[in-house]
Symmetry: C2
Subunit: 200 residues, 2 copies
């Protein structure tokens, strides 16, 4: 609940407030269909009258919400850039952080299922491409040639996406704690061409 934007800090809502509430609704409702004006208005303690002052229509709200989501994800990646200088360490930190973060945010899973949407599709593709490029850069720093780096970044990202899906649909099959650490070790090792514990 932040009302910092705007000179008049009365009980008035801003477009950013609506976008944030739309993202929250999407998180809980699971999908773009959850972005509905009237329920969000009720949730904000307002009415449609307020909404249609800030936005032209529902599509504009979706656009704003997804734009907000895109910048959040982009900033997240940039924050990861500050982790460590060693690319090997960075990969490990990245995996741990990212697999934990996606567990309790169904937004991404919801967007994946809406790849055909005229607004969500391009946003999704930009975010995905950015992540793949970042991963390929990481593997490149490890000395892998371009093609090999791309291949492994793809493999790594598929593993990430799949794990995100499972974390959302069947969290009970995913390892936790110490076992999860060993699992991540194995994944990273297989991505780097070596195995951690052949004997188990």
């Amino acid at each position: 609940m932040s009302r910092q934007r705007g000179t008049r800090a009365r009980g008035h809502l801003t477009a950013a407030d609506w976008a944030e509430a739309a993202l929250a609704a999407m998180r809980e409702g699971g999908g773009l269909a959850a972005i509905a004006i009237e329920p969000i208005a009720a949730r904000l303690g307002a009415t449609k009258g307020s909404f249609y002052w800030h936005f032209a229509n529902r599509d504009a709200l979706i656009e704003a919400a997804l734009a907000r989501w895109e910048t959040l994800r982009t900033e997240e990646v940039l924050a990861q850039l500050q982790l460590a200088t060693d690319p090997m360490t960075r990969i490990r930190e990245l995996f741990q952080q990212v697999t934990a973060a996606v567990a309790e945010d169904p937004t991404e899973i919801a967007l994946l299922a809406q790849a055909g949407h005229p607004v969500a599709g391009p946003v999704l593709r930009r975010v995905t491409q950015r992540r793949l490029d970042y991963l390929a850069g990481l593997f490149g720093e490890l000395g892998l040639p371009e093609a090999e780096a791309r291949q492994r970044s793809l493999q790594a990202y598929c593993g990430y996406l799949g794990r995100a899906q499972l974390a959302h649909a069947m969290p009970e099959v995913l390892p936790t704690g110490e076992e999860n650490a060993r699992y991540l070790d194995a994944v990273i090792a297989s991505l780097l061409g070596r195995r951690s514990r052949p004997g188990g």
Copy 2:
């Protein structure tokens, strides 16, 4: 309106016809929300009057459609069982077949995003568990101990799910043809603890 010949004699529809049409609508519309009685009725050349004879309500249709989907996926796995006796060959065939099959069927991606749905959730979890068990059995046949087999089956299935997502959202980043074959080789090799081409 014109009398659209159904799949049954004398133009009459069956519950199975409705379930199949609901699955088709979900395939094209992407999501459970696409299962709407009146559009499907129009598509079948019928009206709601016909539907409510065969089903109690919309939820019953969703249940029937998902039950049909579940048996289809189960039969699919059983068909894969007949592939080859060598588990190594079976894994390869399975990967190729499965990555190709999921490319043009958004149903699974749509269901993944609906894991919280009271009907879709359990169906999804049953199918996933069945696949994981099957994969773990395959790795077990390769001589891996139980825990190791489970870990790798999880890794393999995450790779499958992620690739399915990418095939739906960003098919252009996925390799094709010869490059795809090399990619699958690398994935399988990393799952088996050896790498195919360290030098690229």
